[in-house]
Point group: C2
Chain length 215, copies 2
DNA sequence: TTCACGCTGTGAATTCTTTAACAACTCCTA
DNA sequence: TAGGAGTTGTTAAAGAATTCACAGCGTGAA
């Protein structure tokens, strides 16, 4: 069995695969067992050529005149995106945003489970929050190691960010979804994705102005 | 007065400018009145060449041997990113996430103010939430028009997303920050930025696995 | 069984983004 | 006042990502 394709798939393509999978899950319930690249493309706001190339990259083939088998494609994407034994996530920082993220993420994907939350404030620790146990941040290293947590969602105050990140990295975390609007330093083997809302808003504000008149 | 440079600046560059401005604001309080491109680059996790090119694109010049004047650069970026009379934002969907976003965004930038929230649920409307007045979604079109709101943050349930978007667009919204994990359809002149957390998590999960061993 | 249609798979072309490289210049030192 | 160190501004090259375009094929219709 060949498993994952040898060469790394680009970040952009992985993002689209995630999107395709979600769209395909909906299609699977509804219509014929096949989709054309142009159908999937229009659902994903992309081009047919892009869809075909993405699927080519993961070694998936369709049939001319029938398109791609939906269930087979979902299975193939699962094989790429999911780890067989699943991956566990910790959320750090149980403030307003942290709690909302807990509720948002919990239970979305069986192979990607939030298993613990951490906070410095003793008033928040030692109980369930949105069904997830919340621990003291002092217990974090042991917890991450023993439960083999590889992903972290960071939603702590700015000042605390870098030191929390250092702890996470030292505990063996492999990737961080960062909601703190500060660039965090990590060693090269740790991946970071910044979701910076103010940056997105400022970008939208700019293009909103460019587009139409000058309000 | 020439105002904005004629040619559009790329999305990537705008994002970095937003980041630079934030970093510069910190620098301004601390040290000398100048920065070198390599200093700013290292704070932004970028390369000096990238910084120089970005600043070139917005027509900003530094001095050899002293670098860029921090305050002047902030002013120049303000000129690009900010609208002189400010832009107003509406938040739609006051659930867990919506409330957290209100708290997060409120008061961050004076030229980018959240001025109203909307929800379908009458229990939530008619009062302040995190200091922002919350209205019925039925009043949204009038409100958006009369208060000249051009940006929207979308945090409604999936099923409601497209119909809310249609209303927003019809009311004159120019750009939407979309937290709903569904591709929304808008006319070409409306800009959308999708902040899709599950997609980001799945991407990180993939690269976390690629990097090290195969857990 | 044959034909025509419309799709896939993919090399080539294009476009967009980043990095390299270096001449020109400014400041500091002596 | 002249020289050296180190930075900017910018052109050219490299590298990624996307789109084009078309050969080849499978299906359904005749």
């Amino acid at each position: 069995m060949k498993g994952q394709p040898a060469r790394a798939i680009s970040e952009r393509t992985i993002e689209r695969l995630s999107l395709y999978r979600r769209l395909l899950a909906k299609l699977a319930r509804q219509q014929s067992p096949h989709v054309y690249s142009h159908t999937l493309a229009s659902l994903a706001h992309g081009t047919p050529a892009q869809v075909r190339r993405d699927l080519m990259l993961i070694g998936f083939s369709g049939s001319p005149a029938r398109g791609y088998n939906i269930q087979d494609l979902i299975d193939r994407i699962d094989l790429i995106l999911d780890s067989p034994d699943g991956q566990r996530i910790a959320l750090v920082g149980v403030g307003n945003l942290g709690r909302a993220l807990l509720a948002y993420i919990a239970g979305q994907r069986s192979k990607l489970a939030i298993v613990a939350a951490f906070d410095r404030d003793p008033a928040k620790t030692g109980r369930l929050i949105n069904g997830i146990p919340c621990h003291s941040i002092l217990d974090m290293p042991d917890f991450i190691r023993s439960r083999k947590i590889t992903l972290a969602v960071l939603a702590v105050p700015q000042d605390a960010a870098q030191s929390v990140v250092d702890t996470l990295v030292a505990s063996g975390i492999r990737a961080i979804l960062n909601f703190v609007p500060v660039p965090i330093r990590v060693p090269r083997h740790v991946h970071v994705d910044d979701l910076d809302m103010m940056m997105s808003l400022e970008k939208l504000a700019y293009f909103a102005r460019q587009a139409g008149n000058g309000d």
